[in-house]
Amino acid sequence: MRIPAGLRRAGLPYLLLLPALALELLVHLVPMVIGIVMSFKDLTRLHIGDWGTAPWEGLGNYRVTVDFDAPVGATLLHSFLVTCAFSVLSVGLCWLLGTAAALFLQEDFRGRGLLRAVFLTPYALPVYAAVITWAFMFQRDNGLVNHVLHDQLHLTDGRPFWLLGDHSFAALLVVCVWKTWPFAFLVVMAGLQSIPKELYEAAALDGAGMLRQIRRITLPSLRPLNQVLVLVLFLWSFNEFNTPYVLFGKAAPEAADLLSIHIYQSSFVTWNFGTGSAMSVLLLLFLLVVTAGYLLATSRGRKHADD
């Protein structure tokens, strides 16, 4: 029996989506729902062996998390603000570096291919080794950074601490940007390929300079791509865990206290998964709101650009 062509065509998108949907359900969505359910239970080490018996807490875990007068809530609020600042700066720098590098590497010159591979190196190196190397470089007494800044360039008076105290935010930012900007570079570089060369040639003939071409042709063409890229970079840096964990260990200094470390401490260190899940759900809600607002703002902007 042949399936009528109309039905086949209507069913095709669903069929194409099916594997992705099935996997997402199994590995992402069902665990997320379980995680959300966990947040309503008093799931500590007493009940971790048998979740069915863990008592329902209702909103208890949430109350603890948002009680900003208590030390836990206050630390969480501070951590949230630090993470916001960190994410914005990290995404901005990664995007700038990535886009600039991709633009500069558009024109062919000798060694361009090699440079492309070199720039992807931070992305290729194992996270643990790369971040530990930076930790060595940031050491106060024996590190490269202080050696250059203090001993060779004489830019600072004493030897500053980079892994403790206020400078730790800068150290964390440098390491994360170093690790993540190649990804932005990769994505933008691939996106630049789809802009037809004729547009540039026409603009050049009209007398537009380099910067003008970038502003008028490149950036608008990349807009849909950048919309997703910036959003995803923001979400990832908000949830960034590996880098601060390897750089600072379980206890990050206050200036670089990211939310993900708190969630890790609440869940994996104390085995209190109820609280950890509650923090994650609140984080999820916040990011959903931010994403919705971001998509609305950028889509509206796009409609204007089309006019």
Partner: protein, 437 residues
């Protein structure tokens, strides 16, 4: 329409979630079974120089066990960064080993999950009785008043390592026996780029170990009788302040030590930058860093006055590895046999000698290997003056909150900010409030 669709999707996903998590998993309420008598799965911790070395060390012993009992042991050596997480997934899902090593500070928390087999009199008799084991080591196997959740396997304590040449150059003839002597010695050495004492200020567990012992010496316990945190008692504050003052007031610890977290203090000691360091078994590390055994000496950790002993004369926390059995094991008899084998006098002598630790089985301690310059001090400290860390379920939280408080105080001291009783109390109070969660 859209709401209906969203509702359908949510319902489907929730149903799937319920099915997925509801069926099975977790600890069975029973006490183990003997369904699979022929095999055992054993998760060993990494005690040797690397995982491969551990396999080479344990392999022949497991073969010996198989020849004696006919039970085949599937060994997996689990590196430390993963061990606790894997125990977590094993506890949650019910899929785990039969026998495993645990850090002895984890005993009380794992006991609280109910996943470990309690060692009541019957189980202890099966391995030779409680009396074979060192009493302090037995205290580090679970909460007081309950049956131990594990059996001591390897034990260690802290000692004071000192650089003989640096002491000689400063005209000091003997290692310090009291804290005042240590500070005085440190001050004499601390000049010209050399420092008196090394500390891992960024390593939370090390901070806790030192603070706990100092606390005991000040008569404070960090937890009161009912198991509630008491970090702001006079003794606790004095203890922490004393440790921080080595850097802040006495200036015998270099400021850079505040960020040490990867055993840099051992390296400083091995290269002659610091003259003293408080550590567990560091002989192999010193050798790997190029220091010869006759260049360093070992002494018991100082006490306020007098000689090390119990109570206020404690000078070390009792470190070590315990061996535990998962309650839902399918080879209960085999697991007990295996623990009996691992805690037998012969195996205890062999394994502890190889790993550089001290046997918690008293009979096995009589061996020349435990009478060398470092192991003798460790053994004596273990038997006479070591106390286990508080056996409370929130032990890891205690380590994180108070350890971080000490790390932050070291950071203050290193940056030149004043460290006063008030500032110490404030940080410890914050740590105590975090314990409530």
């Amino acid at each position: 329409m859209r709401i209906l669709r969203a509702a359908t999707i949510t319902a489907t996903v929730t149903a799937l979630a319920a099915v997925a998590s509801g069926c099975g998993g977790g600890t069975s309420p029973g006490g183990g079974s003997d369904d699979a008598p022929g095999t055992l799965t054993y998760w060993a911790s990494n005690q040797g120089p690397n995982v491969e070395a551990d396999k080479k060390i344990l392999g022949p012993e497991l073969k010996k066990f198989e020849r004696r009992t006919g039970i085949k042991v599937r060994l997996e050596v689990v590196p430390w960064p993963e061990l606790l997480n894997r125990i977590l997934t094993a506890t949650t899902s019910g899929q785990g080993p039969d026998v495993l090593n645990i850090g002895n500070t984890w005993s009380a928390s794992l006991q609280a999950t109910g996943a470990l087999l309690p060692w009541d009199k019957k189980n202890f008799d099966a391995i030779g009785g409680r009396g074979r084991f060192l009493a302090p080591a037995l205290d580090a196997t679970g909460a007081a008043g309950k049956d131990p959740a594990a059996v001591p396997l390897y034990s260690l304590a802290y000692a004071l390592y000192y650089n003989k040449q640096m002491f000689k150059d400063a005209g000091i003839s003997e290692p310090p026996a009291t804290w005042d002597e240590l500070v005085a010695d440190g001050k004499r050495i601390a000049k010209g780029g050399k420092w008196g004492l090394g500390a891992e200020g960024g390593q939370l567990t090390n901070n806790i170990h030192q603070a706990f012992v100092l606390g005991k010496q000040h008569g404070a316990d960090f937890f009161d009788g009912s198991g509630k945190p008491a970090f702001t008692s006079d003794g606790a504050v004095a203890a922490v302040k004393q440790y921080i003052d080595f850097m802040a007031k006495d200036k015998i610890i270099a400021p850079g030590n505040a960020e040490y977290g990867q055993n840099q203090s051992l390296r400083d000691f091995a290269t002659g930058r610091t003259a003293m360091v408080l550590w567990q078994a560091a002989a192999t590390t010193f050798a790997a860093d190029g220091m010869k055994p006759d260049e360093w000496g070992v002494a018991p950790v100082p006490v306020p006055s007098g000689t090390p002993g119990t109570g206020r004369q404690t000078n070390s926390m009792l470190a070590g590895i315990n061996i535990a059995v998962f309650k839902n094991t399918h080879n209960l008899h085999g697991a007990r046999e295996f623990v009996k084998f691992m805690t037998s006098d012969a195996e205890q002598r062999l394994l502890n000698k190889t790993y550089g630790s001290i046997p918690p089985v008293t009979a096995a301690q009589r061996d020349p290997a435990f009478d060398r310059q470092d192991t003798r001090v460790l053994r004596d400290t273990l038997t006479r003056s070591a106390t286990p860390l508080p056996q409370v379920a929130e032990e890891s939280q205690f380590e994180t909150s108070v350890g971080t408080a000490i790390k932050d105080l070291f950071a203050d001291a290193a940056a030149g900010h004043p460290v006063t009783t008030a500032s110490v109390t404030a940080r410890l109070a914050k740590a105590e409030q975090q314990m409530a969660q």
